[in-house]
Symmetry: C2
Subunit: 333 residues, 2 copies
DNA sequence: ATGAAAGCGCTAACAA
DNA sequence: TTGTTAGCGCTTTCAT
């Protein structure tokens, strides 16, 4: 193994100069820096991570806690994880993968052992049991999603309220007057994943503002439930021409159900969704995407700022972007 | 931060005794061990990972390199990653997540820096450019999948040859006499991902052995290609009653295509697949699963053995398990 | 069965 | 602008 003293000897300087030249933590003359860099390159020097962590009390590793729970869309998690790793690497950090299963002990373990400098948590619940721990851990963290009370913490997510609004505005702009939201399964609202409720708020507020008639229907994640909701919708709102779907599992079955009931999409009925882009694209449905890659990147940027001692906003809401596809059209005459 | 000297003081022993009591690396009297354990527990002692790594030249971290390439089934990767983390934790190790994108430099970086003790690589190609590096890295590694030449390396995967055989045997056992394999896109065979070719070998060998008429058709990963293959199959093998599909993207479209052509599954045609269990289950198709969780677990076990200095087999082939579902039935009379 | 002490390789405070 | 040096917290020889 090649160590800092080897580099120092070859460059004809002291070890500390090598350290400083490589880290840039104090001014070094251009000439020395170049000699050091050349020596390091020629020898293939890589600082020993453990030694560095011990001396600097920085491991340059971030923890990423991923959920396992059913009902989580796996490709989104993976895409997110990859974007976190990529962003972390740009800042010379690595990523330690933890499963939610390890729970609070896991978080305490990796921070107490100084294995990681900071944490990113996915799948945060309204009353997440990890909140008090995070506040007391003394390490920067960023949560994906919003708990009820985020005081003293840092959260980031798509602005789901605005996403709900954006979908309604799109439909209103196309002349639709009667709209419905097909939402998540009832238990999601009960369990308290904040984003589902925010979509409802945004949807309702935007519909009211635009003077649209509107209704909200939770829906189980099964094709059968989708068919039921489709029928119910048509009975309760015969003039319905616009639907917002926030439930990826039923998007396809729901469209099928509408077409079985004799409604063509988008000729008779416009459909827009809030869902992974992948799915919307494959079904050619107008949608607001869950920007998992951007969330991951931004989460890392936030952590880096916090590690640098900067103060960052407690909450970051990413603006929704709606992509028009073949499932929405002007209201039929 | 609570350190080993704190624990030592509280237990009334020397730091080295604490270290030994906790690691079990030398005999300690029951009484002392208990005092040390109690002290550690009461203080919430966690050894500093960096210090430990520096002193012992073991980081207790494994690297997991995940692929990004298109055509990789994401949920399988995620399931695999989770099983690796879970298995690693059982051995008191953590997992560092690397993307394939970082390439050989990434591998060299984390090993040279002593960030990780060992590596797990997914998505190994027949002539993977990382092979020479792995051989020279001086750290244990396990690859998921088989390169052309695995000398000096450790590989593990589903036994795809046996999987192909198993599917044919299942069909033969149901009385089918004419079978076809719908395989991966042509470029997969060209690019040289070994498993696709092994399925073909197993399929053909088993069909010959059982005296079945058989044919193999590569197939692009599009519904249109699936429809074409379905038609071609029926023209070329009018007596066809059994199909093996090794191409998850076209499984559903292919079944649809057969049914559009007037063939009921399983009444007229039996279909069996080699694909993620998730997909087979949702389509209710008889299948051999890709046992990603088991592969991950076994990969970790292999690494642990290697880290312990044991010699492990160069290749591990997991036996296929076929799960019967509603898509296969006895040959129609 | 236990203790003392020498590093592991690096960073950063202190000196010059 | 550079060098000297004292640790960082742990493991592990070497002694007892």
């Amino acid at each position: 193994m090649v160590k800092i003293t080897d580099v120092a000897r070859r460059a004809g300087v002291s070890p500390s100069t090598v350290s400083y030249a490589l880290s840039g933590k104090r001014p070094i003359s251009a000439a020395t820096r170049q000699r050091v860099e050349a020596a390091a390159r020629e020898l293939g020097y890589r600082p020993h991570a453990g030694a560095r962590a011990l001396a600097s009390s920085r491991s340059n590793v971030l923890a990423l806690v991923v959920p396992l729970r059913a009902g989580i869309h796996v490709p989104v998690v993976m895409q997110f994880a990859v974007s976190v790793v990529t962003a972390a690497r740009r800042h010379d950090h690595d990523v330690l993968l933890l499963t939610q299963e390890e729970g609070e002990d896991g978080l305490r373990r990796v921070t107490d052992a100084a294995l990681v400098d900071a944490l990113i948590l996915m799948d945060v619940q309204l009353h997440d049991p990890r909140l008090p721990l995070l506040r007391s851990l003394g390490r920067p963290s960023v949560m994906i999603g919003f708990p009820r009370d985020s005081t003293g913490l840092t959260c980031i997510d798509l602005d789901f309220r605005a996403a709900g609004e954006r979908c309604v505005e799109h439909l209103a702009g196309l002349g639709h007057r009667v709209v419905a939201l097909v939402g998540s399964p009832p238990e999601v609202y009960v369990r308290g994943t904040a984003f589902a409720q925010r979509v409802v708020q945004g949807f309702t507020a935007a519909a009211d503002r635009a003077g649209l008639a509107s209704a909200v229907h939770p829906c189980e994640a099964t094709p059968a439930a989708a068919r039921q909701v489709a029928e119910k919708l048509l009975h309760e709102q015969p003039a319905l021409t616009g639907v917002v779907v926030h439930n990826e599992a039923v998007l396809e079955p729901l469209i099928d159900a509408f077409e079985h009931l004799g409604l063509r999409v988008p000729d008779d009925l416009s459909v827009t969704a809030i869902c992974p882009d992948e799915l919307a694209e494959s079904l050619d449905v107008t949608s607001v995407a869950l920007p998992s890659a951007e969330v991951g990147e931004r989460a890392v940027e936030l952590l880096m700022s916090k590690l640098a001692g900067d103060v960052v906003p407690e909450t970051t809401l990413l603006p929704p972007e709606l992509t028009g596809r073949a499932s929405t059209a002007p209201r039929p005459a």
